[in-house]
Point group: C2
Chain length 222, copies 2
Amino acid sequence: MNALLVLSGGMDSTSMLYAYRNGIRLAVNFHYGSNHNDRERESARYHCGKLGIELVEIDLDFMTRYFSSSLLSGADAIPEGSYDSENIRSTVVPFRNGIMLSIAAGLAESRGLDTVMLANHAGDHAIYPDCTPAFAEAMDKAIEAGTYPGIRLYTPFTHLTKAEIARKGADAGLDPCQTYSCYKGGETHCGRCATCVERHEAILTAGLPDTTPYQSTELLTK
Amino acid sequence: MNALLVLSGGMDSTSMLYAYRNGIRLAVNFHYGSNHNDRERESARYHCGKLGIELVEIDLDFMTRYFSSSLLSGADAIPEGSYDSENIRSTVVPFRNGIMLSIAAGLAESRGLDTVMLANHAGDHAIYPDCTPAFAEAMDKAIEAGTYPGIRLYTPFTHLTKAEIARKGADAGLDPCQTYSCYKGGETHCGRCATCVERHEAILTAGLPDTTPYQSTELLTK
């Protein structure tokens, strides 16, 4: 496998970077104008540098300009509390994974790679339609049909929970607390938004210590 | 149908704009750094203005920077002569239609539209993998699965020839000679590149006069 990984710099894709680093030749990080993209990108740079994997950074300015999502509307628009469908739905960025995977497929073809990887996972299925197995299967077929070399999409975390992913990353040498998740995008994790709550719970469930500094811990599982 | 059309400003997508204008609420034009994108965009603007359809213009700078294709390498790199596979293959921009359709899907969801349209057609199948019916079917499924409202892809020109498309456009009021095709991207059509040769032949086969000014006519069907 000669793969390109879509790497946000969050816990899931960074765990994939570590767990599959022997087959990953290139990572691509996208900035689509969300509050947390700057911090995520720092994390992506740090881990690619550490593992000696090339990182391409692509800015998708048109998404800030033309797309609707609370994730693109400043930290105050981000809902707080648990990561359930109703609460988090406003953060959906329409067809984000479709856009990132399509660009990744074109980049993979340009670089002579055979596989594109994405760290979608079971915890996101109910909320983000472009994280579901049905989406990933159809997108795999579209990329295979639409590229000369028949590039394939590989999503080995599709049926894992976020805790299982944290465990996989840790087993491969990643400290999950050295990744960035907070949707508010502050210098330290807020500890109140749904992604902070979900991240903390996953790290604990994986049996790992959560040494992430949080601004507030009152909404976090003890 | 409330559709968004991917509109290059070339003959095929402009014919679709005219033929389906009653259902098209928005058009999107992409600039990916090719030699002919500037001229195509002028054509897209002209026809949207004429029909009173809103046009969103999106620039994909990363493609110029990171993608390989003779289409992105200046006019001198464009092959001349007939539009057969071997000759035109260097002009493939990897997964271009996948990228444009994915962005169009996200934009359609942001605008509350239910359909994305693309003017891929039979003449391009052999050359561009992301113009084939197999690609369009898989991409339709991916967009339906990956968007909240289940947006669909509609490609009614998939099985038409370019001549049939020229005819459809003309029947709907378009003068095909008022669109732009030349891959070299000059102020007037070169008449030597494969797209000029193909365009001219399609217009004649459709039984229409070709009043396009060409810099050279020696390679064109009489």
